[in-house]
Amino acid sequence: MKNPVISEQDRRRRRSMIVFQIVAYGFLLTMFLIQLHMASVRNW
């Protein structure tokens, strides 16, 4: 149910923050997984 107190602008801002978090953490996770894969195939 939509909260009438939160304005449309706030809702959009919150949504964009969630998208940003997913992209940012997703990027970090991708880099970590690439490094982990490299560690498994290389003799470090």
């Binding site: 919150r14 940003f20 940012a24 490299m38 470090w44």
Partner: protein, 231 residues
Amino acid sequence: MTTNTMAAGAGAYDTHQQRSRAAQWRADKWMMVGVFFMGTAVLGLIGLPFFLRGLSLQMRAQKAGFTVRPIMVTLIGYLVAVDSALNSLGWALDLIGNHTLLARVFLMAWGNMFDGGYFWHYNELWIGGASAPGEKAWVVALLPLMFSMRIAAAIAFLQMKRWGQQWLVVTCWFGVIAWAGYVTNMTIFADVRYAGVVFPVVGWWLYDIFYITPFLAIPYLHTVNREIFSD
């Protein structure tokens, strides 16, 4: 601030404000001592109890009804200050004090354990310090620009200044770029950074994941009521 306080007149209001400021300053003194020690990295554990004592004082003051800084502002402000101090100390050692005994112990240990960039051909560039590809450029770009801005912004943010909030937003986004670039650099030159180190990949990530404060603070900074910060 309660209605009773308002009804009691300007004198009571002034007293309330004065006592609130005193309570905040008392808590801040403990937290600043804690952050000072934590910012040195090596003495970090000494600082933690000081910081927690200050935090509990502030929470107690808030419960008692005093007008003190929001807890979230306190946590983000001090966290950013510690993050900037830790990075500044480590990279100032690498950039300026790379031949000192402290750098040779501190950075060599770091290089040996987690990041070969601080071990491999160390001090062999004309500028000294880390020789890993790209590393020095990050040090030069981030230390005098981003981290010094960030520590200034954190202090102003803790003082509830408008420019502190604005500059924390700016430097947090700068932090996102820095992290994205730095981690990509680590991945591209992973053979230099991780070959022969004691704890490759997982060790580095476990240690460095705590520096992701910009990612954590950005949603709050963009959604907080800006009116609580004064000009």
